[in-house]
């Protein structure tokens, strides 16, 4: 018997297993959109879709960063707090009169720096990402209230322009700057994951870290890099959030890390790492957004129904991953 006859499975299985979760999410999204359109006349308005992007642009950016981390088999609980801290620091610095560009640069540096430090702690001291980023979460949240107990409004010209600027078509449909930024982040991330060594190493580490090490891949450097990337995405998310709310509030984004993790998992990324796509994460965020929109349209339902539905979906998707057997260990 020669090994040449060995194939990967029946030829009718044209869809690789690793694509099933993403396709399931896509199908779910279409079904939910279909329900919306059939139930509410205004739902078919293009602006409804655009609004989902506008309301969730910052979430999408943060979820992209989280995708990197989860692909390596890690987790980053600090993202919600880092988002809040970035918005808070921006508002505070702007209030003290610093120029907008400088504030932007400083605010964008804080997140990746914290992410880098957490990555170093995880790698060099071999500590669980859960606990390190939990510490990071408390630290960043503490920093928010350290800056101010109350919300700080933003009146800076650049910020208000960004907040109000509309990019639209002649029929009046529009998106905000945040949406374009989010799209740019998604494209860059997808490219990095698919076409760069860093991206491929991320998948390799998620598949089997010991093998990756013995194959000579820079495991430590890549680990630190993903937490830095997640920090950077949280920082960008924080800036976008401050565009959206035009303020820095110490308690904004509490529990956001969990929404983000839910979006990434619903988007088909496996929590143990090694399998998933940024495109899936986009779908995951959209699923969350469409659920919110549906519940808003209904009007009679309590907004907590969003959480209940997300909980059910998350459970269903984890079961799905288990059933189709995307786990290599």
């Amino acid at each position: 018997m020669s090994t040449t006859s060995l194939t990967t499975g029946p030829s009718w299985a044209k869809v690789p297993r690793r694509h099933v979760p993403v396709l399931a999410t896509l199908a779910l999204l279409l079904v939910m959109y279909g329900i919306g359109v059939s139930q509410y006349r205004a739902f078919s308005n293009v602006q409804v879709v655009f609004n989902v992007f506008i309301d969730n642009g910052f979430l999408l950016v943060v979820a992209v960063g989280m995708t990197f981390v989860i692909l390596t088999g890690g987790i980053d609980l600090s993202v919600g707090s880092v988002v809040a801290m970035t918005a808070m620091v921006s508002a505070w610095l702007l209030q003290s009169g610093l120029p907008a560009l400088l504030v932007l640069v400083v605010a964008l540096l804080i997140g990746p720096t914290l992410g880098f430090l957490m990555g170093c702690a995880i790698h060099f001291f071999d500590i669980q990402p859960f606990i390190v980023t939990l510490a990071g979460m408390f630290f960043a949240r503490g920093m928010c209230t350290f800056i101010s107990n109350a919300s700080i409004p933003i009146t800076d010209g650049f910020w208000t322009t960004m907040s109000q600027y509309r990019i639209g078509d002649p029929r009046g449909n529009f998106v905000s700057v945040s949406v374009l930024v989010a799209f740019a982040v998604v494209l860059v991330a997808a490219y990095v994951l698919a076409y760069t060594r860093l991206g491929r190493n991320v998948y390799a580490i998620g598949g089997n870290p010991q093998s990756a090490l013995l194959m000579g891949l820079p495991v430590g450097r890549t680990r630190i890099a993903v937490y830095t990337i997640s920090g950077l995405c949280s920082a960008i998310g924080g800036i976008l959030l401050s565009f959206y709310t035009l303020s820095g509030a110490p308690l904004i984004g509490v529990g956001m890390e969990l929404d983000v993790i839910a979006a990434v998992v619903i988007g088909g990324t496996v929590l143990t790492g090694g399998s998933g796509y940024v495109f899936g994460t986009v779908l995951g965020v959209l699923v969350l957004g469409v659920i919110q929109t549906l519940i808003t349209f209904d009007g009679s339902l309590n907004s907590w129904w969003t959480k209940i539905v997300i909980g059910g979906l998350l459970f269903a998707f984890i079961l799905l991953q288990r059933l189709i057997g995307i786990r290599y260990k």
Partner: protein, 513 residues
């Protein structure tokens, strides 16, 4: 064929770990275009030597030279870059990535920083064609058999223009056909001028492929010999370092006489037990004091039978009676309560707790059986542990060494001791001698004989027919996840007949009934 100048020279290598002197003043040479077997018992220092060479461990003393250049690699990556590639026993690939990517990751061809996927696939196909492997290079590695994965790992290793290829126990999980294919590739690579360092426990394989043999014993060099000038028995003698009494005694061991046990109630009686997708319905009886051998090829369902018996997997259908009484063996805890012990094939993943000491690992199952409220007195522990360290010649004979510092074979012995201490009435041994050396193998075989003489029932699973034949009263033959024949191990049964049964399957069964 061989160049006169070695491609690799290791001189005076010494390496110690806490409590263990792994290597002492070892010399080793490797010539281009040769297959060089590194032989030795477990714990002789083979793995350590390889790890020292590839920079996984630093060396305490000695020098390594590649060609004329002195080297000290910082790790496998640097070693590979310099042309020293290693394929480990546990295939180190990323299961989620495609075959092509596994071959090239870390050194992907790129244009402007972007990975060139088309180029990767093309080159992967080319490389695998060189190894006569025609598979879908875009499929994840996890979807292929271990043998194919091994080939992929070799493809990865030779692509870096390797001058030295280290194969650490590459054959331990391959079947005969796959081994033949691997050997064909090894010969081809050797003829291309690559120096191959081959570590294995299978003596036949060494004589099938190696040009030269270096023997280590207890971390010291015994010698380097051309294969043609070292008869097999002499090799074994050099490996175990004593006269061949152990082996000879074993070979002279009379074929186990048939125990006249058939009349009594069997200890375990299995009827039509099955699990969908794992093993077809089978029946099996095991009497006290009886050794039942389970023969069959890798993947024929032997381990699945063991797991069903032990309750590690749930059976779909069928009954098990223990001591004549029907019992549902649904969990390992129930099995243990009924006096069944299971030494699994996969000792790393399913047995040994690497950070605990030898003593703690051995005591584990007994303590669990007694319940945590009744600690085993220290003196009793020492007694038991010392007894089994001696009985199984565990090296180093120190109960307080963490098990991680022991070699694979010695870890296996610790695992065996753990179950023996609980004095089970039926012991299931799944490949207890795989990957361990001749001396330890003989010890374990002798132990099985002793245990069964003492009244213990043993289900002995092994891919090696000789040892199944040597030890068993009855042999059950597995083929394609089906128990195809029950043979009584009398004069009419020999390796050929078992082979035929494995090959031809159920017709044999009819002939026997």
């Amino acid at each position: 064929m061989t160049d006169s100048r070695p491609v690799l020279t290791m001189t005076g290598i010494s390496k110690s770990f806490p409590g263990v002197r792994a290597l002492h003043d070892v010399d080793f040479r490797l010539f281009p275009g040769e297959v060089h077997a590194l032989m030795g018992e477990n714990g002789a220092g083979k793995s350590t030597l390889i790890k020292v060479l590839t920079g996984v461990y630093g060396i305490d003393e000695g020098t390594i030279a590649l060609g004329d250049e002195r080297v000290a690699f910082s790790g496998p990556m640097q070693a590979a870059a310099a042309g020293v590639s290693t394929v480990y026993q546990e295939v180190n690939l990323c299961p989620n990535l495609s075959v092509a990517e596994n071959i090239f990751i870390g050194r992907e061809p790129r244009r402007f920083g972007a990975v060139r996927w088309g180029e990767i696939r093309r080159r992967a196909r080319q490389l695998l064609a060189r190894l006569d492997l025609d598979i879908d290079v875009t499929a994840p590695v996890a979807s292929f058999s271990l043998a194919v994965q091994q080939m992929v790992a070799i493809a990865r290793a030779i692509d870096v223009r390797a001058r030295v290829l280290i194969l650490d126990e590459p054959t331990s999980s391959l079947d005969a056909g796959e081994v033949a294919q691997l050997f064909r590739i090894m010969r081809q690579l050797r003829d291309d001028g690559i120096a191959i360092l081959f570590v294995t426990h299978f003596l036949d394989q060494v004589y099938g492929i190696a040009d030269r043999i270096t023997v280590l014993r207890n971390g010291t060099l015994v010698g380097e010999y051309p294969t043609a000038e070292l008869p097999q028995l002499a090799l074994v003698e050099k490996m175990i370092g004593k006269e061949l009494d152990v082996l000879e005694r074993l070979d002279e061991h009379p074929r186990r006489e048939l125990a006249a046990l058939e009349g009594g109630t069997p200890f375990v009686e299995v009827s039509e037990l099955s699990r969908k997708g794992a093993v077809a319905p089978f029946s099996l009886t095991i009497h006290a004091g009886e050794v039942v051998g389970l023969a069959g090829l890798l993947g024929s369902g032997r381990t699945e039978v063991a797991r069903l018996l032990f309750g590690a997997d749930r059976a779909d259908r069928g009954q098990v009676a223990v001591g004549g009484r029907p019992t549902g063996l649904r969990t390992p805890v129930q099995a243990i309560d009924h006096g069944i012990g299971f030494c699994s094939e996969n000792r790393r993943a399913e047995g040994i707790i690497a950070d605990l000491s030898v003593r703690e690992n051995m005591i584990l199952a007994m303590q669990a059986a007694r319940g945590w409220l009744r600690p085993i007195p220290r003196r009793r522990q020492d007694e038991l542990v010392d007894k089994y360290i001696k009985a199984l010649s565990i090296r180093p004979p120190n109960p307080d060494v963490p098990v991680r510092n022991l070699s694979g074979g010695n870890q296996q012995k610790v695992l065996l001791a753990r179950w023996l201490i609980t004095e089970p009435r039926l012991l299931i041994l799944d490949e207890p001698t795989r990957g361990i050396d001749v001396g330890a193998k003989a010890e374990i075989q002798r132990l099985v004989v002793q245990l069964s003489d003492g009244g213990m029932a043993v289900l002995f699973i092994s891919a090696e027919l000789e040892e199944v034949l040597r030890l068993s009263h009855k042999i059950a033959v597995m083929r394609d996840r089906e128990l195809v024949a029950h043979l009584t191990n009398d004069d009419t049964v020999d390796a050929d007949r078992v082979m035929q049964t494995i090959a031809s399957g159920s017709q044999r069964e009819e002939a026997n009934q």
